[in-house]
Structures are given as C-alpha cells and as structure tokens.
Symmetry: C2
Subunit: 478 residues, 2 copies
C-alpha cells in the first residue's frame, strides 16, 4: 500500500438523508494510506484545482481525474444474502418459502460438508459479489464450521478483499435429518469457534485500519429452525458480547409466521420471540419483515434493530410486499438485501429496481386512500434519493457501521464504486451520454444516477474500492 | 447465403402450448438456404447421428454441434417498444403516464426531426435490440416520416437484419405544439407514404423468403392523441388493406382512461373507441391493457386482437398490474412488450422476470379467495412454460405471424437464439453448470431454461439468427 494519499477529482454522488443526496460535478477528495478519506472539497472549478490542493498541503501530487460519463458512489451494502445458495440462482421460482427450503435450499446447502465444493463455490461467489459493487456484505454460510471458515478466508483474502459479516447458521430442528445440527452444544461450540477464528484473523493482519474487514455475526437461521434451548444459549452468547452482530429472518411468509407462533406460543409475536432471548438489539439485522404487526414494528424501533428489505426475493417466493415506508416513518433503519437465492439476482442494482417497484405497488394500493393525509413514506413510491440511501447509508445503519461506511466523509473508509456509463462499458441496456456537453447540462448529473440505478449492471462498475484498495470491478477483471 | 442446408445438433427448448414446452437434450434439425426449417428430429442419440442424417438424405454434411451449456430457443418477440425513446431509458420513473409524456417523452421524440440524430440513435437502438435477443420487434418511431424511413432502412439492412414492424405515430392533438401533426391530411399522407416505402423495399430485395422482414404497421398513438377525423381516415385505410397490421395503446393508466372517455363520450369503453373506427381486428396489437372492463375483454376476444403485456413499464409508471391470467383464460392472444422507455429495460428477459412478478402479485392478492374454484390462469402465478410461451409463440400470435415464427417447426423461419450459460459468457449473475455431468442429469435441462429466463442477460445470447442468418449476439460483436 502506498504511503502517500490518493487524490480523486470528478463527479460524486453522496447520500445525505433518506430524501436527499449531493450531486457534485467537480468534487476533490483525498484518500489516505489507511484507506480512510482525509478530506473532501465538494466543488472545485478546474482552474482552482492547484490552488485548492496547495491549501490542503498537496504539492506536486498526481490527481486521478474521472473521465466523461464516470462518477463515484459509495459501495453498495448487501444486508442479507446466502453465499451458500448461489448455485441455485434462478431456480425454484414456483415455490413459496417452506417448499423452497426443502426442495431447493437444504439439498444444496448440505453439499458444503464437502470442503472442495465449498472452496470452489465460495471463491466464485465472493468474486461475483464484489464485482457487482457490493463492498459490504452480510453473508449466511451453512451450518458447517469448516466450510464457513473457508468463506471467511476467501472474503478476508489477507485483509485485501471485501468488508463482510460471515455467519454460520444455527439450526437444530425443522429441517431434514441430513441437514440439521445434532445438538445445542455442537451448534454453540462451532459458533464460538467461528467467532474466535474470525477475530484472530483480524488480529493477525497488519491492517492499518482499526476496523476489521471481516466480522463474525450470530446467525440463528430463523425462529423455526432453533429450539428454545439453542436460542437461550445464543442469547447468552450475545449478552456476553455486546459488539457481536446478529442476523436472522423475520416475518417473511404467512405460513412461516403462523408456524412460528405455534412453536413459541408464549411470545406475543414473531419479533417477540427474538426479543425474549435477547437477540433483538441495535446490531441485529432482520431480513424480510414483510408482514410485521404494529406492536412488533414498535418493538423493533425501540430496540434499534435494522430491517433488510429483500424485494426481489419477496416477489419471487410470493412472500408479499414489505411496507418499507411504514418502517421508515417509524424511524427504523432499513437497508437492501439480495437474499440469494430467494432473490434471483446477486446485484443490489436489481434490488434497487425491485424496491422501487415494491414501493409503487404499495402506493397504487393506497391510491384509494388519497383523502387521508399520508405520512412521509408510507403509501408512497420511494424516490431515487431514498433508493440510493437504502443501498448505501441505510445499509450501513442496518449493519450498525454508518460511522465507518455508507457515504463519503472525512474519517470514513473509502468504500466506493467508480461507475462508467459510457458505451465502452458494454452494457446495451444503458443509454450513454458520451460528450461533455451531454453530461454537464443542468440536472443531467442527477439523471446519471437514476440511469445507473435502473439500467446499470456489473459492466458499468469499473472499479470497486474497499478501505481504499482497488479490489474488483470490470477493470479489475480485464 | 449458402445454397446448402445447415445442420444443428444439441439441446433445444421449443414452446408448444401456454403450459408446455419441449426440452430436447439431443435435437437434430436442418435449416435450408431460404432460412426456413427443413426438418426436425426431436431426439437423436449420438451414436444414431449419421444414420439419422442419412435417412434425411444428408451425406457428408457438417453438423454444428452445441457445446456444454448451450441451447437454442426461438428468438424473442417484443410486441411493443418505442425506438425513439431509448435515449430516455432509466429516466423519469417518478412520473405517471400523462406527466411522463409531457416531461420526458415528447421532448425527446421531437428531436427526431433532426435526421442525423435519428440515424445515429436508431442505429444504436436496433443493434441493442437484436443483441438482446429480440428477433421480431414492433417499433413505434415518431410522427416524422423521414426519420421513420431511416429506422426502416436500418432494420431492413438490405434484408439481412431484424424482423420488424415499423410504425409512424399518428397524433394530431393533445400533445405540445412542437410535437403534433398539423392536419389529418398530412398524417394520413405520410402514413401512406411510409407503407408504400416499406413494401417497395421488400419488393426490391432479392430475398429468398416470401415473407418480408420489415412490415408497415398503422400506429395511431392512442385514442387521446387522435381526433375522430384522423381515426376515421386511418380506419378507412385499414379497411382497404386487411393485411395491414395495427398497433396502439389501450387502458394503461386510470386518468388516461377517464380522459379518453370524455373525448369519446359515445363509445361504450376504451376498446370500443378503436372498434368503432374499424381498428380492432386480428392483426391489432394493443399495448398495456391494464384496466380493461369485462365488456371490452369480451370485445377484444371476439375481434381476435392481441395484447402486449408490458409489466416493467406498468410498474415503472405506476400504471397498475395487468390481469394477464384473465385474458389467457378468455383465449386472448398475449405477448410481452418492453415498452421502452416506460419500461427501463430493452430486454425481453427483464420483461419475463417482471411478468412473473406481476402474476405473483395478482396471485397474492387473490389468496383470500382460495375457496373459490379458480380458472386455469386468472389469479395464479405464471409458470416458466407460460412465460416462455409469452416471450416467443405468444408474441408471434399477437403479431399474427405464429405460422411463421415463435417456435421451431418444419416450414417456419429459423429465428433463434443460441444461448450460452457457461461462465465464459461473462455474466456474473448466472450460476453456470460447466460439466456434461452437470447438465445431463434428469430435470437439469429444464432448470437451464429457468436460469436463463431469470438470470440471463445479453452476454448469454451468443448468436442471434433471423430467417436463418446470423445477425447478432455476443459472438457477433466479438
């Protein structure tokens, strides 16, 4: 790693709030040797470039200037995906959740007892996820400790790869014999071993960053798959380790919800199950949340847990349409999740498009209530600004790391995508603006972000940076 | 063009009915010099290959054998798109139809008075559409005669390019002054000139096919944009020319429908407007049909007109969710339309995915009616077989040319896609099956079609054939 900072100059989109982002045509910023952003000047005219650099104490420095049609956005954050289900991408769309688990998911996940298969699969998975623009990813692996360590190794890649949370599934009931943990003790022991393994890797890495790239995450698969005894043990683990992140599924499918209630008759609702075991807190990621009841929305808000909105999966498995606007109005943290392979795409761009569609469906269904005064988000379509926020800073909040990633600010990690919307990117689905005149007009820069979010694919992601390092993208593969 | 037939051997998916397709792992077929399919043998074991060829009178012939991970499907049919709106792909998703037309569409369409702009734009459009796997396309151009001729020239490409219908918009009211035809006479004269131009091109081409590649299509933009006088004239044109195809929009947006009723107070409903002018017949393509009333569904069925289902656009412009199952149950012909740029993708694959999502939304909304006996399609999710059918043979029916294209059969045109699902296709969103063992297992071939439809993109479309000619795809660009 270089010991001098890297200076970038060009268009930047920077999320600010749920309803606003900065579109900066001429942004100048510096990324230090640690991979953190040193400083940002939002708007520097070309003739003021050297003077501005001098004011920042940068004399005789190289400036990486973006080309026409290029811009930076913060790296995408995928708050929910299953690394072990990528081989099933685009399979089983005829099923709803329970049948899909038994016919599609569990058979494939069980194959990860084969460590060669695990290595081969996870190497391809992580490469795809990074090149798709996901700089931080919340991964579910399988129930296998050793295979999950392999996933950790691949993600970690000696501290030079992706930022991620990696969890081994806890699941000791309600799945087939061939794919179920045999005891609470084994499940908990393996989980502790994985946590120790991941943390020791960071300690062993001579990283300049005080933040680890890969972090452990407690992963009770979902309430159905865990006995109360297992949840009790995992809750104890969580209490002893407040920094330990937690991920699970909640309220995805109506029959899943009904069955959960029969398994936990004392709990007031689905969220109450997790809460009763101490698993609902500010670093908990709750995937789906399609059919939450009002009291559990309130409980999740109070606990500060985050929701991973997985619209592609929710459509594909006929789970329902999550009322994201309601959650946003209540101040709940929301990010996006691809939920491969419930979702048929590993790309957060696809997720953005389907989050937009989901919100429009909700809005259309609410149209007859036009006379009622609506709150800010509920019953409305999500704007480009909101979608952009969910894909970046919202996801960072859900991961409880918005102080570190999700937007560009001095002191934050430089996790970023260099986007290229020119024709030479090779994506025929995006109409390029090639000339300076095309892209410098009033309002045109805003339009570029919308084009990227709705028409872009991995070919438009030229370079992917994590903690300042160039780790993926189309130029990386070339 | 070669004077000897081309023999292909490998996996083929061939649509049969709305609920079935043939998955043929070892299909052998011959395409003659005219570009029509000579014969097909569904299943030929490798050791029987020479014997089968000999029986067909083919001695010492080259056989093009597909590689592992490759298969043929019929070319996609896009029954509704606007060639003139591609520059707006991924723009204006905040609007519904009326505002979107005024703020996004009309300003861009008006630019096609500049013939250089038209040529530059249409060349790129047609290349993108072919490479995306659309072998037959129903194009709307603009109101400009000369620019539309340019589109025809590009599509025609001396008889070696795409199969298409090209229409000049008729629109003499309810759009801004800068983009409206000045008189009924001018609109009709230009329309007649375009029809003559397109037909003369085919006559001038030394095509071996008796079918023209490019055909004219009468294109009254929609009822709102045409005065009764204009519709009367167009109806007369249609009556004199029963072979002339017709395309228009119907019942896309609720406020559009309401306004249409005020403009045509005598008509019983929206479909009745077109019918009263003689514009509703078996070669009429009706785009959208989101909110049809029962009597107009009946009228459309009786007239034998087809519906172009444009789910991406219907979501994106918050138009609604078309009840496609109802139309299929009534026996109405249905195909898919990308409706660029109401839709944000020019790919029929994206359309397939969103048609699936649309049907699942309808099915979820009907779940409470579970006790009622459901018909075959209404209120149910569309299967892979149905989606595949809509993208191919259903589209051919809507274009009233299912005798010629849409599936593989002796005597039909060889309009086809050579699909490549291997990793070397370069699409990270599709999980490849690389080995023979991977793809030869029971049921695996079926899975490949689903993967392609849900995860594929233009990179998986290796070669595009129209009338037997290799005209596009990834290998064409390489």
């Amino acid at each position: 790693m270089s010991s001098s900072p890297t200076i970038y100059y060009g268009p930047v989109f920077n999320p600010e709030t749920l309803t606003s982002y900065k579109a900066l045509p001429s942004c100048l910023f510096s990324v230090g040797p640690s991979g953190n952003i040193d400083w940002i000047v939002d708007d520097v005219a070309e003739h003021m470039l050297q003077e501005t650099l001098a004011q920042k104490g940068c004399i005789d420095v190289n400036v990486t200037t973006l080309k026409t049609g290029e811009f930076f956005v913060p790296g995408f954050i995928d708050t929910h995906t299953h690394a072990s289900q990528f081989p099933n991408l685009g399979s089983g769309q005829q099923y709803e959740l329970p049948d899909w688990l038994n016919h599609v998911t569990f058979p494939t996940e069980s194959k990860f007892s084969d460590l060669d298969f695990a290595r081969r699969t996870y190497e391809s998975v992580v490469r795809r996820v990074i090149d798709g623009g996901t700089t931080t990813c919340c991964y579910y692996a399988t129930l296998h400790l050793e295979a999950t360590k392999i996933l950790v190794d691949i993600v970690q890649a000696n501290g030079k790869s992706q930022r991620a949370f990696v969890g081994k599934c806890n699941m000791n009931r309600e799945s087939p014999d061939y794919y179920r943990e045999c005891s609470v003790e084994a499940s908990v022991t393996d989980t502790k071993q994985l946590i120790t393994y991941i943390r020791s890797l960071h300690a062993a890495t001579n990283s300049n960053s005080s933040y680890p790239l890969v972090q452990p995450i407690l992963t009770p698969r979902f309430a159905i798959s865990c006995t109360p005894e297992l949840l009790t043990s995992l809750g104890e683990l969580a209490v002893q380790d407040p920094a330990l992140h937690i991920q699970t599924h909640i309220s995805e499918n109506k029959s899943e919800i009904a069955y959960t209630k029969t398994l936990f008759p004392q709990a007031p609702h689905y969220a109450g199950v997790y809460d009763s075991f101490g698993l609902l807190r500010s670093n908990t990621v709750l995937a789906h949340a399609v059919h939450l009841e009002a009291p559990e929305i309130e409980l999740i808000a109070q606990r500060g847990a985050g929701i991973s909105h997985c619209p592609t999966s929710n459509f594909n498995l006929s789970s329902g349409v999550a009322p994201i606007g309601v959650y946003l109005d209540r101040g709940i943290k929301v990010g996006l999740g691809t939920d491969v392979s419930g979702g048929f795409s590993p790309s957060i761009l696809n997720c953005v498009q389907n989050a937009s569609i989901a919100s429009k469906i909700v809005a259309m269904q609410c149209q007859h209530k036009n006379n009622v005064e609506k709150p800010q988000f509920a019953g409305r379509q999500l704007s480009v600004a909101t979608l952009f926020y969910l894909a970046t800073l919202g996801g960072a909040q859900v991961c409880d790391m918005d102080k570190q990633v999700g937007s560009f600010a001095p002191g934050k990690s430089f996790d970023a995508l260099l986007v290229n919307l020119r024709n030479d990117a090779g994506n025929p689905g995006i109409w390029s603006l090639e000339s300076d005149a095309d892209v410098r007009g009033t309002g045109v820069l805003d339009g570029l972000l919308e084009r990227f979010l709705f028409c872009g694919d991995d070919r438009n992601i030229s370079r992917v940076y994590v903690q300042g390092r160039f780790v993926g993208g189309k130029s990386f593969r070339a």
